[in-house]
Amino acid sequence: MNLAFTQEQTELRRTVRDFLDKTSPEAEVRRLMETADGYDPDVWRQLAGELGIAGLTLPEEYGGAGCGFVELGVVLEEAGRSLLCAPVLSTVVLAASTLLGLGDDAACHDYLPGIADGTTLATLALTEAAGRWDDADGITATAARDGQDQGRGWTVSGRKAFVLDGHTASLLLVVARTGAGLSVLAIDAGAPGVHRVPRATLDQTRRQADITFTAAPARLLGEEGAAWPVLERVLDLAAVAVAAEQVGGAARVLDMAVDYARTRVQFGRPIGSFQAVKHKLADLHLGVESARSAAYHGLWTAAGDLPDLPLAASLAKACCGDAYVTAATENIQVHGGIGVTWEHPAHLYLKRAHSSRQLFGHPAHHRQRLARYVLAEQAATASPA
């Protein structure tokens, strides 16, 4: 695997960073944190339209740019760096990957162009009250054929929780159970029987909603009962995506801590000249570069559609989540008193770090999963000749 960025990818990074420096500075992040929707529709329109972010990885036939996961990772790393308040994870990663993965051509034609051009916000409603991402058996929402529509339509009932951008998405992809197993169904957020409750999130830059479905009219996507393997892959992609975002955030707080340590004077010298501060920052550097390596490996594995994506995803998510929390925590420590105030941006990153560590499985969960894969891998190779 040759982990080198192409010139185009490097240019994409520069373009996105310039754009976000202008459209997502700290003041703007703080403004959006206090709004009901939590993102800026104008900026999203530009991100989707001018920069083509929303359709970056979508095939050209659906209005996308046909790029790979490495490009998306570059965008997410930059988004994480600037704490971009926008529905990238929900719409571009979760919803678009689910639609593509289910292989329902008609649905792709109906929904993906709207996602690509930024007019459709979509999300995946998978988790329920327990907040578990990997628990297929625990999903209790149900889907049933709708008798009124000659049995061609469906209805969904149940309660979903921790739905990313569930308060603003217009298209809800809902995981529900039928006799055949788990399916994904598309539900219009404005349809009858859909009740959305925005939650107060620790990370105010990324919102969630609870959504209750009461016989809400739904459209079955792909084959009935065949959704779980698709969702497993979507969750692996999502884990890699959030890992890239975490690396962007972790690198940003390390920069922030280094800059402060260079300039803040105590005891007559910059605090960055104290060995305790130096070694703390050196250790964060090890963590960030390790995390970055794991995240990039995840991106390239996803882009190459390689079979060890589950392993690469767990490696990335296990590593990057902890690296980000550690960096965000120690950044505050380096800043001292000013770092624990509301006015300083350090806490925004700490909250994002804690919140994103939980998404798509905690590092402790991914370590168990990683061990399982590695053990299976070795058992397979070690089987006697």
Binding site: G268, G336, L350, Q358
Partner: protein
């Protein structure tokens, strides 16, 4: 609530049974608390005192006002029962009893969930400073109103440019007729708005003199020239204040210690603060973590069990270390050692809670996660207040282990 239906142990003060044995004293104190400690839901209920969670300056002021009122009343009750300042000299309003009697009272307070924490500076740092550096007149003037719950105190130490490096304090006290005029900016002051006095460190010498140019003062807080601005914490809550001093006045007898002795006074103050932080009762976060895991039904998970055990180990060993210190064991740099263990415990336990809570920790409106998020966002401050973790480690190494500066 019944008032003083049990005999107040203080009623025997001065009598022949004045310094009864520990068991006997404990028995009396327990009996008195059983009859007098506020019940949950009563107006004096301390469980409602949460200054830390105020979501606006207005709410902060209201909560602070409520908390100080409740604390004043309770402190007065303790005083009237002869339970306040057991170990303080009689001339300062106390009873001249052995130190352990104060510990007995404190333990009983902790057991009942009542707290004089709002008076912590007044009850712990002020006497440490005055007995170490003050004059007889100052002790007699300042200490009795504290015991009676009349005077609360705060600290005016840190400045935006003087965090860990307190020797670089630049707030200036300029001599004037009858005292000093003080101008400068202080920060990280708890209870600034409801305190009667402040322990103030200000520069009386030149900048070049460094720590030798500092002096300590008792500053009356209610006077013109003092502007208090609540400071919003990263949790969104208000707890600390910035205090702007513009020609605030301190009378001549408000100087504590000699002119230029401020650094020595500050060291006494910080040591007593560290001991108070590290020596208090643990927040019982390990016990609560165990309860959380049971509630969430994940207490059979070996990974969760390992986290619980680590928390229990940290919490119990810290409690046991405090017990050893209380029992007279020689523990080098005991203050910074317990303070650092405490801040690490707080941080690691909050982090363990995030693992146990899972996705719920992403929601502040989840009743199970809310108290843990509060701790998670409070823990970083614990690593800074009363001297950063790094400063504690320096102190342990230099004063505890004798390593060269």
């Amino acid at each position: 609530m019944q008032h003083s239906s049990a005999p107040a142990p203080g009623s025997t003060a001065g009598g022949p049974a004045q310094f009864e044995g520990r068991a006997q004293f404990e028995g009396r104190v327990r009996e008195w608390f059983g009859a007098n400690a506020p019940r949950k839901g009563s107006p004096e209920d301390f469980s409602a005192v949460h200054v830390v969670s105020a979501r606006s300056p207005q709410e902060y002021h209201e909560q602070e006002e409520h908390a100080i009122t409740v604390t004043r009343a309770w402190q007065r009750r303790l005083f009237d029962a002869g339970l306040a300042g057991r170990s303080w000299p009689a001339e300062c309003g106390g009873h001249g009893a052995p130190d352990w009697q104060d510990e007995v009272v404190a333990a009983e307070q902790a057991r009942w969930g009542v707290s004089t924490k709002m008076f912590a500076v007044a009850l712990e740092m002020v006497p440490a400073v005055l007995f170490g550096h003050g004059t007889h007149e100052q002790r007699v003037a300042y200490l009795p109103p504290v015991l009676r719950g009349e005077h609360g105190w705060c600290q005016l130490l840190s400045e935006p440019g003087a965090g860990s490096d307190l020797a670089s304090v630049s707030t200036r006290a300029t001599p004037m007729d009858g005292g000093w005029s003080v101008t400068g900016q202080k920060v990280w002051t708890s209870n600034a708005g409801c305190s009667d006095y402040a322990l103030l460190i200000a520069r009386t010498g030149s900048r070049e003199e460094g720590r030798a140019g500092l002096s300590c003062f008792a500053l009356k807080m209610e006077q013109p020239g003092i502007d208090i601005r609540p400071l919003r914490q990263m949790s969104g809550a208000y707890h600390f204040n910035e205090v702007f001093l513009d020609n605030a006045f301190v009378p001549e007898n408000g100087l504590i210690g000699g002119l230029g002795d401020g650094w020595a006074v500050l060291r006494t103050m910080l040591a007593s603060e560290r001991a108070a932080i590290g020596g208090g009762t643990s927040a019982r976060s390990a016990t609560q973590l165990v309860g959380l895991a049971r509630q969430l039904g994940c207490s059979d998970d070996p990974g969760v069990r390992d986290l619980l055990a680590q928390a229990v180990i940290r919490e119990r060993t810290l409690d046991l270390l405090r017990a050893r210190i209380a029992a007279g064991h020689t523990v080098p740099a005991a203050g910074p050692t317990t303070k650092l263990l405490y801040s690490e415990h707080a941080r690691l336990s909050a982090d363990a809670a995030t693992t146990i809570l899972g996705m719920a920790v992403t929601l502040v409106d989840d009743p199970q996660s809310a108290p843990w998020i509060e701790r998670l966002l409070f823990a970083p401050g614990l690593r800074l207040g009363g001297g950063t973790d790094e400063i504690q480690r320096n102190t342990i190494a230099e004063r505890g282990l004798g390593l060269p500066r």
